[in-house]
């Protein structure tokens, strides 16, 4: 009876931890796809590497119980804790050194269906006008 309760507790704790980890992993992947430039994407990737990975590994440790497997999983958690910020720092440092310009200041994504800002719209229209004018001119020349 007692053993059953312990098993259920183990399952619940592990399920909660792993669900949280999965949430952060997927959110990080979505962030890497959505965010506007390299430097901001790095933040989303870092989110996956820290909390997502650690929570999934903790959930697995709870499942494995007191065994050699859980010791090895803890070792993996330690190694990821050590290497992932270092790799992140190296990547962003190299990009900065190579002269990749970060986007600074406020940024807001476009809502689905929303047109770009009025200015850029006007610009785009102007461009298309110029293009069509060029095209018509070219056509005339051909004629």
């Amino acid at each position: 009876m007692n053993g059953d309760l312990l098993h259920i507790l183990q399952f619940v704790i592990s399920a909660v931890l792993m669900a949280g980890g999965i949430f952060f992993v997927i959110a990080g992947a979505v962030g890497v796809l959505r965010l506007p430039d390299f430097y901001t994407r790095m933040h989303a990737a870092g989110m996956t590497d820290t909390l997502g990975a650690e929570m999934i590994l903790l959930g697995l440790i709870v499942q494995a119980g007191l065994s050699q497997t859980s010791l090895k999983l803890a070792l993996i958690a330690f190694l990821l804790f050590l290497t992932s910020p270092t790799a992140t720092h190296a990547v962003i440092g190299a990009a900065h050194h190579a002269g990749l310009k970060p986007k600074l200041g406020k940024y807001r994504a476009l809502a689905p269906g929303e047109e770009p800002l009025a200015k850029s719209k006007a610009k785009a229209q102007a461009k298309s006008k110029v293009k069509s004018a060029r095209k018509s001119r070219a056509k005339k020349r051909v004629k």
Binding site: A27, G31, M42, M47, P85, Y107, R108, P112
Partner: protein
């Protein structure tokens, strides 16, 4: 150096036992001892036997990492909210954060803690400052960095940190 060798020996023995798990086979234990000495010889040849290779964190580090984990969880919430909201209002910022630690180990602990907290990444380490890229402008408040810096210095028991504080106070 002697202290580093002894601590590295203990760490490697624990690491071997964690990996191997065969306590009852004497031949594997003997091979473990041989392997540990090969690795020690290699690290001696590479001249990496010092306190940076084996950062003995005096047990205080455990408290630091618990605090850091709480910070990471809090910062993650903010980043997730910013990333998953449909408008995605972010304001990337670059700031300079001063480093007060005197040893390289303390500085590395501090910089890695900054990177581990999502939303802030240490980009480059100049003389006594770190260039930090932040996802949201409100994550660059100096008070948070100062607290993290103090705690990181405390975790590696930095000798300079106390001196600076006494001098200032």
């Amino acid at each position: 150096m002697i202290r580093s060798v002894i601590i590295l020996l203990m760490v490697l023995a624990a690491y071997w036992l964690t990996l191997s798990g065969y306590f009852h086979k004497p031949i594997l234990l003997i091979m473990g001892v041989i392997s540990i000495f090969i690795v020690l010889a290699l690290s001696w040849r590479m001249k990496i036997l010092d306190s940076e290779t084996v950062p003995y964190f005096h047990g205080k580090a455990l408290g630091y990492y618990v605090w850091l984990f709480v910070e990471i969880t809090k910062a993650n919430m903010g980043v997730v909210k910013a990333v998953l909201s449909p408008e995605m209002e972010i304001s990337p910022t670059i700031t300079k954060v001063p480093m007060k630690q005197s040893t390289d180990l303390g500085r590395v602990t501090f910089a890695n803690s900054i990177t581990l907290t999502p939303g802030t990444i240490a980009m480059e380490m100049c003389e006594d400052t770190i260039l930090v890229h932040a996802l949201l402008a409100e994550m660059t408040e100096p008070s948070g960095f100062i607290e993290m810096s103090d705690r990181a210095g405390w975790a590696v028991s930095d000798p300079m940190l106390g001196v600076i504080e006494q001098g200032a106070g």
